[in-house]
Symmetry: none
Amino acid sequence: MTVNVLVVEDEPAILELIAVNLEQAGLHVLRAADAEAALRFIGEALPDLVLVDWMLPGLSGIELVRRLRREERTRALPLILLTARGAEVDKVLGLEAGADDYVTKPFSPRELLARIRAVLRRRRPEVGEEVLEAGGLKLDPAARRVLAQGRVVSLGPTEFRLLQFLMAHPERVHSRGQLLDRVWGDHVFVEERTVDVHVRRLRAALEPYGLSGLIQTVRGAGYRFSVQATQEA
Amino acid sequence: MTVNVLVVEDEPAILELIAVNLEQAGLHVLRAADAEAALRFIGEALPDLVLVDWMLPGLSGIELVRRLRREERTRALPLILLTARGAEVDKVLGLEAGADDYVTKPFSPRELLARIRAVLRRRRPEVGEEVLEAGGLKLDPAARRVLAQGRVVSLGPTEFRLLQFLMAHPERVHSRGQLLDRVWGDHVFVEERTVDVHVRRLRAALEPYGLSGLIQTVRGAGYRFSVQATQEA
DNA sequence: GATTTTTGTCACGAAACCGTCACCATTTCG
DNA sequence: CGAAATGGTGACGGTTTCGTGACAAAAATC
């Protein structure tokens, strides 16, 4: 899960300083020297977060923030403003314009990273929060807990996500490729057979509770979560 | 220090009337036409006070109040409800939902301002005044005291707040990031692993009283306060 | 101002988890 | 029937994650 951060800063030295720090922390850094370039970048692909310097040639940082907040597509884009000194006015203006946070220069790399993390996690996902219940199984995403016949089932993170996806799309065959995309993520490179192993682990975890046959193999196609029995005689 | 007031009102004329009055009194006014917009505003930056109209399109004012009171972050946010006429039912409902005060339309600017000042003066002491009790534990925020099986447990301030938050939101996994935001505060920058250490200290403090397993680790996700046992088989 | 408590960070080790492979059983099809 | 394809299964090394004890800085207390 790489995080893309767009840094908008006209001073090359500072830009590189920031970029190196962020990249050391495992973030992927996109660079823009002014607001126009930033807008072009964002127009092509939405980054996960934008770091904007307050003072920019041409369109100022605060104007950039306002522009981004006006557009529907970029309204929820996390923004952090870099303000020069402890100019209180700027901070207030910046936050009012719609920035999620501000960092005053000079700043420590740690502070910057901490703020970035804070802003990134503040976005509330709220997707897939509903409790799934089927065939004697109850999966609660908020509690990250699975109950089989009312008893707690211990699952690893991947098995949990796999079961969650299968239960969310029951009575439907999913190919190994689809499962890799939806459960592991589109960008990961793992063998398709890995899915088999996780299915096996999932089955093994459910089997002690008398729940077998819920996850069915469809030869040549993939796997399916089904409450209905598959008796074909 | 300027006071930010968020006014939630769908009638543009009334909204402007209120806004002009408040701004003349030196307050800074943020405007929202409905509850959804208000939630977005509040999500970005907490105002000092929120003025909510009772009648709103979509999510009603009272629903907005309830939502805000449910969330830990906005629990202490001062709220004033604008009710139509002297409908006694509405007043009671509004106050029960968690509003700090109500103002009936039509109102004089002086009255509104007076109420605002009054509410701001007696700002809520702290989040969560209620006594929490679960799994042999009893946490009293007012007394800042925790009882385990009736005996006093000695906890540091941070451990206390951590336990309070966990007990206030039980049976739910909280990531280290969320815990940092809500126990330490959004603008505190500490390592995520610090949460681990405090959880350990909390566990160590509870363990002498035979209370273990209350704070559970969910690998790859975070921690959970749960009364249900995790023992399988 | 000195002592005690609290707090954040780190290093280390244990445990859990993951991806891959080899091997075997079963099915499919020439 | 035999070969190829497909999926189940157990095991193994590498990585990630978490618990734990120690330590120094900061804060509170006396």
